[in-house]
């Protein structure tokens, strides 16, 4: 963080292949690299979930070839309990960190934030490049844990101590596996800190002439707010991971209590605090949920506006609400710990902000819906996914009412109800945001249109499939189905297995549908029909670049000057019902009522 003066470097277009495509300083290339990483990660995570689902639906069914993945984990292709948990842990970790954080935030943010504020690049391109490659190394370290003798950690993506801190005595993967996990996450934090640093500085200092804060598009606002969250959250997770590693390799006792007996052996550690890890982790963990979803909100708003042909009912209220989410997200993390032995009073204290956070969320949804009203909605794959995201966010949001209350958490904590809740509200909603953004921005990123027909089929299968997977999760939870079980040996869980079979089938089908997307992505990248500069007739600056994809310096030498608020739709402009942010023409602007 000591040298901040690389900006000039970015403005000489590199000539060598390596500098252009691999160790590039260009925010656009780095954005694409992040997107590629997320794409690889999401398919790894998806395959892991398939294996888990198959196992949950059909108990000790041998999955042909599984032993190739792990001879110990699946002897004779039959999955062992530890291997199930290891896959589950890796699914959670990879999805949360390497997909939900990288794709909507780091990938799209890197590509479009500088363009949308009218800058040639980020101020610190070297940090930007490091941010990606550090993240990449983190991913490799995480994947590496698949190949150590007893496999990756089985402690779940929350890595509760002391299970995660005691070492190999507590089970397969709890030795080297955990150390690799913690190392990977610590490295990941460094990468995201570099990224956030760039995002914040770009938004504050790199805005072009006339681009006042209120003229920033909602997507930029979302990325900005997210980067502020990231800066604080990841800065807390990193030291926590380091302390965890020390408990492993240096014999310290930060998280390990006294007098623990594992396998009849009294453990040498003393006095550590189990809850300390939970506090540190969830202080990061809850903001992380919003780090995953807020960029999605921004992207969806951005896409929706250009397809509704009208500005949001209120630009500012939306921004304030997202900011409110960011602030509140630090006050609510305790709701993950209602029944974890925290003082009952503080449970109540945490319950109220948790309930109150539903107010900004509701406002955001209402603004979206209120803006739909009286709009001239265009239906295309991008807007369909945006609408789908709204629906998912609502469905996942309402179940928050339950989990915000400690008294109901007694019943629902650690059940599939929770799993259903966060998958809908955070995972799937964010993924729909990513899809929406992809279909919307792909023409600008690669200069070619994506195939709308395949896109729509992809949407329908994904939309219906997702509900088929995650709605039943809530029912299972109500019936008391505990999460993180590799088999349901309990008498009261036996009757629920058919539901799991149904979910498994739905999951496999929905997963398969994603290959349509992959095909569409690759095919359109090379053979899609060439994209015009502004295919969606949008107003923001990324569509004001002289070409698709934009030139190395985004605006071909002269930075644009901004004359209007971001979303001037539904007006009589020379170009039609919209006026670009950088077009000097005078118009009756659609402005906020004060």
């Amino acid at each position: 963080m000591h040298d901040m003066s690389h900006a000039h470097v970015a403005h000489q277009a590199p000539t060598s292949f390596i500098r252009r495509n691999i160790f590039s300083l260009d925010h656009k290339v780095i954005g694409k690299q992040y997107y590629g990483l997320a794409l690889v990660a999401v398919f790894v995570g998806m395959v892991l979930s398939w294996i888990m689902r198959l196992h949950l639906g059909w108990g000790n069914l041998a999955i042909p070839g599984l032993h190739l993945l792990s001879a110990n984990g699946a002897p004779g292709d039959v999955m062992t309990p530890e291997y199930y948990l290891q896959l589950m842990t890796m699914h959670g970790t990879i999805m949360v960190f390497f997909v939900l954080t990288t794709a909507p935030f780091a990938a799209f943010g890197n590509y479009f934030l500088p363009i949308q504020v009218g800058a040639e690049d980020m101020p610190f391109p070297h940090f930007n490049m490091m941010s990606f490659w550090v993240t990449f190394v983190a991913f490799l370290v995480m994947i590496a844990s698949f190949f150590v003798s007893d496999g990756p950690t089985l402690g779940g993506w929350t890595q509760y101590a002391p299970l995660s801190a005691l070492g190999a005595v507590t089970g397969p993967g709890q030795g080297t596996g955990v150390v690799l996990w913690a190392a990977s996450i610590a490295i990941f934090c460094v990468g995201q800190l570099f990224g956030s640093l760039n995002f914040i500085t770009t938004t504050l200092d790199m805005r072009t002439k006339g681009m006042s804060l209120w003229r920033l598009p909602l997507s930029t606002w979302a990325w900005f707010i997210t980067s502020v969250m990231g800066l604080t959250a990841f800065a807390v997770l990193m030291p926590a991971c380091i302390l965890l590693i020390l408990d492993h390799v240096a014999g310290t006792s930060f998280f390990i209590a006294s007098n623990l007996v594992v396998n009849d052996q009294l453990q040498p550690h003393a006095g550590g605090s189990t809850l300390l890890w939970q506090h540190l982790f969830w202080f990061f963990g809850h903001p992380e949920v919003y780090i995953a979803i807020v960029p999605g909100m921004g992207i969806v708003s951005h896409v929706l506006i250009s397809n509704m042909r009208r500005p949001m009912l209120s630009h500012r209220v939306l921004v304030y609400s997202m900011a409110a989410l960011a602030v509140l997200s630090y006050m609510v993390y305790g709701h993950h710990m209602f029944v974890s032995g925290m003082n009952p009073i503080s449970s109540i204290a945490f319950s109220f902000p948790t309930l109150i956070i539903t107010i900004p969320s509701t406002i955001i949804v209402l603004i979206w819906m209120g803006s739909l009203y009286g709009s001239r909605l265009r239906i295309n794959t991008a807007s369909l996914f945006a609408l789908g995201m709204i629906s998912m966010f609502i469905s996942g949001g309402v179940s928050g009412f339950f989990l915000a209350q400690p008294s109901l958490d007694i019943m629902l904590h650690a059940t599939y109800f929770v799993v259903g809740h966060f998958h809908l509200v955070m995972a799937v909603a964010a993924i729909f945001g990513i899809f929406s953004g992809t279909y919307f921005w792909f023409p600008k990123m690669y200069g070619r249109m994506m195939n709308e027909t395949i896109g729509k089929i992809h949407f329908w299968l994904t939309f219906v499939g997702t509900y088929c997977i995650f709605m039943p999760f809530h029912y299972l939870g109500l019936a008391g189905n505990v999460r993180r079980y590799q088999a349901f040996v309990d008498d009261y869980l036996q009757p629920l297995i058919p539901v799991h079979k149904f979910i498994t089938v739905a999951a496999l089908a929905t997963g398969a549908a994603q290959f349509l997307f992959l095909y569409n992505l690759i095919h359109s990248r090379f053979w899609g029909k060439p994209a015009p500069n502004n295919p969606w007739e949008s107003t923001s600056l990324e569509w004001a670049t002289p070409s698709s994809p934009p030139p190395f310096d985004n605006f071909g030498g002269t930075l644009p000057t901004v004359y209007h608020d971001p979303y001037q739709y539904g007006i009589e402009g020379s170009t039609g019902d919209y006026v670009m942010q950088n077009s000097p023409e005078k118009i009756e602007t659609v402005r906020e009522e004060p």
Binding site: M4, D205, K209, V562
Partner: protein, 226 residues
Amino acid sequence: MATTVHEPPKIDEQHSPGLTDGSGNAGWRDLGPGDGRVRVGQQYSPPPSSTGIWVGLAAISMTFAALTSALVVRKGGSLDWRHFSLPSILYLNTLVLFASSFTLEVARKKIASFMKGQRDVTANPNRWLYATLALGLLFVGGQYLAWRQLSTQGLYLATNPSSSFFYVLTAAHALHVLGGLGGLVRVIGKLDHLTLRRSTLDATSRYWHFMDVLWLYLLLLLWMKL
């Protein structure tokens, strides 16, 4: 992962003032010939490095805040906390670190006048930077001696939570100081090639002074809690 490559842009003063103050491509802030009403606002945004360094320092503060709260919780919850008196050398190190900040400030003054083209400044400001560098290294060395002192008392990383936190906090700080030293080396290099920017120097020195403040805080924390 392909990208189009273009001519490096002709920076024209009308549209990009950023490069005028030699601080990279800074933008305007809230100054626009906006629709009808011209927004009032600061003429130019500051060079990104001056914002960036504050953002970076915020992140660092957050990390140490997390470690602090960990220390407080860990101490509160445990009966096994053993108190020990800080190695005396720490106080000496503190003086060394402050001295380094002083020399750095002198260096900045001299470099400033040097940049203003007062070539009559005969003394090469570098030597003050080298002094800072030396003092910084001295400080890290001093910290190492402090650890040696503790280990001779039989207090190792894993001996007791109190010692664990001592090592973790001081090591984390020392690492950040080393980062600052790296920055100084860069500054010296740039100064030699006369490619140094004010913003770089300022950012580096802000970071360096922050290390003092951080250290003072840590010293107080350790002194109170251990």
